[in-house]
Symmetry: C2
Subunit: 574 residues, 2 copies
């Protein structure tokens, strides 16, 4: 409904009239892509026409002239790409810096689940991300985090129930409820899970899934509860079982998980209408070296997909699924979001337009104004560490503790016996998680084998999903010092040795994101990795990413929590 | 958001828990379709499984047992059908009687545009239809009439602007704004048209189109304004031009217009995802003899369509387009709306289930409670005639008037000169439209050639789109008497001869719908037609349908309006 006296209706009416006049050819367009060959996602073919743009929208395809005309002969015009599921925080940079990284790769819309920052700041984390993405030249849409904390064992910064989420559904950029990871809760009829689903349904919102390899009846139960998509399929049979029961499949190819090759048979006329692309998590070096959704499309075409099918999965299906009905195709009235490439084989992205404005050319971004964040929220995001200054004594153990055994090239672990003290010469290190949200003083301590550190300590406040501080050290004193330094930075990654911080990546936004550009973050991160390896961390190990999963008490076998070592298989503290 | 203290959340929670337990196999289903072969609209294949139902919803597909089990061996199970665009009033019966006619044909959802009753009763007509469809075993969804009155020349019972429509968008069964027939208004930037579009868009609602054969730029303009579908395509090129610009195509095959044959090439993998079926108008005999959406599917398969593609167009695409995300497929959590047929070739509909209840078997309907209509609204719908008692003098003309010349087998007309009085022997009859909504006393008079009536008069209150009383007679006295009888009936069709009504079809609901069953209405209608033919109306002419279009001042050449004969080509009264 239009607010009386605001002129809102009149303004929209004038915009629409101008668009119509341009479409009719009665007035010059703002922009015309002349002689464009474009992917028609509706007729599944290449079409040829001038594409006219006015007021940020496509006016029509035909013969048009415009104030700006771009000759597209020999190029291919595609609709802008959508990432159907990402945790933007995983890029380690602010939303504005993330946008600068992905837009030159053709991404014009992303659907983010602010799960990480919500685990730190609760609903204020969602508010922060909404403000930090307002008006950016990539349209950042939100799915509300469904599982904060991730498990009952977690000591996160907040607990979100359906009541705390409800106010966000009225926000114009909130599309629904994010991955319902607690599938056990759903199929057991857990009230907390089902209330969140019912609430999202009552607002006619989407609900994403996260449930690999369920038995058929369990899958039926999970879906009957109201879960409409899945991005966890790593094999074809699992994907088809979900697809043929009505779930949309998000084919994921990101940093931590890459499922495209296994799921290539979905990119055929039989299945492709139910498939879209997502990255889930994209780390800085991966974004910089490989790209974003463009990388998935390029790879899919190289693996044999029909280019039109691959492009549709990159734009159209996600737009339909998320009810973003004004994008994902070249059509009158749609957003003028375009990617211009040289050809399908090389798939070099030459230009990217967002709502009719040229925002990136050959990888170089145009400037855009930074979103304004309310001062109180800005401060709140930078004051998320609440813990005392620690000393070696805080990490001492009076009795033996379990040793978590790392497995080469995997994030699973094994039970490697018990120890009473760290002994780097025998590859036994102290590992601990320090609660940092609520000053509880909780510190869970254990031992780690297989990491390889010889001296000093490595600490990080990026630790899934609660983002407490995880530390691994050769001595209790090193552990304490590294953790203190992380807290002093207001969050980040610290490599500590010889009584000083030898490398660090400050992440002052909620302790999980930098405010520096992606390239800068990547440089300091790579330098810190090199320092960690110099101190002995095995070459096959990502020194920080590996640690960041050590506190996630859902991956077998042993994990470290704020209350000590936990055995995921027996569901007991050891 | 859930209303506190109503128990709404708790009730939904318990329903969901039960559905989950049934899906898990922990509890017996209410209904199981055992050994079902079903059309899987997601994987575009036939699948085989037991389909379990609980709480009116599909719990899962697999191996299940239930309180009721139906062996489906050798049958094919389809999702219930949707009619994407119909004016329910065209059936001449009440919604409850319409439902009894279409449900045995497999239709479980219809999208109706209450354009006809809105022209009589305005928003109260919409209210009436919403109440008259509440809880029916066919889910009747609404698109709000966009063009009341249909043209500025019309004297309808109401004028609807965007403000009068807005309150309906909050109704859970209103899907959007119905066919925007005034495409000239839209592409000329007419404020009234664009305000209705903007209002619908502000509620994130669908907007249907109606615009045959526009030139490309005009089509771009119409679509850029925000029109998302079309059901007026009668040739393939027009349909493809719209489809490839992003419109969904409703392939229409009803009583007045039958476009399926011309559009068969759309029912292929290249285009079918953007195509659905509709009937637009279905008259009683056509519904009784041929069926409904099932008739279109049957015909499409006979004409060579892949049965799975034809079935998807009958259920899935319309559900997706109208954002009815809980139907149009066999999937956990979806409505248990099923059609069971013998085979694709014969396509005999053996059973129809609505939300898990067997509602029709071999054409025989189960009982269901009639919806309650508020007494005031009930009365209002039966008091829609406001005109004086007429006499022959009201139809006399002091000077010559134009003769509308009928064209055999068409609804177009030609200019057939002028006349000063009716002369049945020379095939010149009096024709008139009598304003009947607001007691204006407006009576437009002219002459008609080609109808063939020898004596008496034929009058009907079904006259598009304003539903004033149209009458054709051998004398002024017969005209007056027939019109008076229509008004006395509170609406309907009257064949008058020898000073009495020789046949009549009472249509007491707003003057356009009966409250009798469809078969009864059809019988009286056929009897009335026979009487009209007996009085001389040509055998090639539908005596009432032909008249019902005579007052629609958009079809060339001459039409009769409440202000006299109008020339559509010159846009002038003659």
């Amino acid at each position: 409904m239009f607010e009386p006296n605001t002129g809102e209706l009149q303004e929209k009416l004038e915009k629409k009239r101008r668009l119509i006049r341009v479409a009719m050819g009665q007035e010059r367009a703002d922009l015309v892509l002349k002689n464009a060959t474009y992917v028609n996602v509706f007729s599944n073919a290449l079409c040829h026409a001038d594409i006219a743009v006015a007021e940020g929208l496509i006016a029509g395809m035909g013969r048009y002239s415009g104030t700006t005309e771009v000759d597209c002969s020999g190029k291919i015009v595609l609709p802008g790409f959508l990432d159907a599921h990402i945790h933007l925080e995983s890029s380690l940079v602010s939303p504005a810096e993330f946008v600068k990284a992905v837009l030159p790769h053709g991404t014009t819309t992303v659907i983010t689940d602010p799960h990480e920052i919500a685990n730190v700041m609760g609903t204020e984390g969602v508010d922060y991300m909404l403000q930090a993405t307002e008006g950016l030249p990539v349209d950042v849409r939100f799915m509300l985090p469904s599982c904060v904390p991730a498990t009952p064992l977690d000591e996160a910064g907040a607990e979100l129930d359906y009541r705390s989420l409800e106010r966000f559904y009225a926000h114009p950029r909130v599309q629904g409820l994010a991955e319902m990871m607690n599938f056990v809760g759903v199929v057991n009829g857990d009230a907390g899970c089902l209330e969140k689903i019912l609430s999202a349904q009552s607002f006619h919102k989407k609900i994403d899934g996260h449930a690999p390899d369920l038995p058929i009846n369990t899958l039926n139960a999970y879906m009957s509860a109201g879960v409409y998509s899945d991005h966890e399929c790593h094999d074809l049979d699992d994907a088809i079982a979900k697809l043929e029961r009505g779930q949309f499949i998000m084919i994921r190819d990101g940093t931590a998980a890459r499922n495209l090759e296994a799921l290539m048979p979905l990119l055929t006329t039989q299945y492709a209408d139910r498939c879209m692309f997502c990255t889930d998590d994209k780390h800085p070096s991966d974004l910089l070296e490989k790209g974003h959704i463009d990388h998935i499309v390029r790879k899919a075409i190289r693996l044999g997909a029909d280019p039109i099918i691959a492009v549709k999965a990159a734009c159209h299906t996600a737009a339909r699924y998320f009810l973003l009905n004004n994008r994902g195709g070249v059509a009158p009235g749609y957003l003028a979001d375009f990617v211009i490439i040289d050809n399908f084989r090389d798939f070099n992205i030459e230009q990217v337009y967002k709502e009719g404005r040229l925002m990136a050319e050959n990888g170089v971004m145009a400037d855009f104004p930074a979103p304004e964040i309310a001062p109180a929220l800005h401060r709140r995001a930078r004051e998320t560490f609440h813990l005392p200054t620690l000393s070696a004594a805080d990490f001492e153990t009076s009795a033996s503790r379990s040793i978590i055994g790392m497995v080469d090239g995997e994030i699973t672990t094994v039970d490697a016996g018990r120890a009473e003290r760290a002994d780097p010469d025998s590859d036994i290190l102290k590992i601990a998680v320090v609660e940092r949200h609520k000053n509880t003083g909780h510190i869970g301590v254990g031992y780690l084998r297989g990491y390889g550190l010889r001296s000093g300590a490595v600490a990080t406040s990026v630790s899934h999903d609660s983002h407490n501080i995880i530390v691994v050290g050769a001595s209790d004193a090193d552990c304490a010092a590294a953790v203190n330094r992380v807290a002093e930075l207001g969050g980040g990654i610290v490599v500590w040795d010889g009584g000083r911080s030898v490398a660090e990546v400050p992440l002052p936004i909620a302790g999980i994101m930098s405010d520096a550009p992606l390239a800068t973050v990547n440089e300091t991160l790579e330098a810190a990795k090199a320092e960690a390896h110099r101190l002995g961390v095995g070459r096959g190990i990502d020194p920080f990413m590996t640690l960041s999963f050590m506190a996630l008490p859902v991956i077998p076998t042993l994990r470290i929590t704020t209350r000590g070592v936990f055995d995921v298989t027996t569901q007991r503290y050891t």
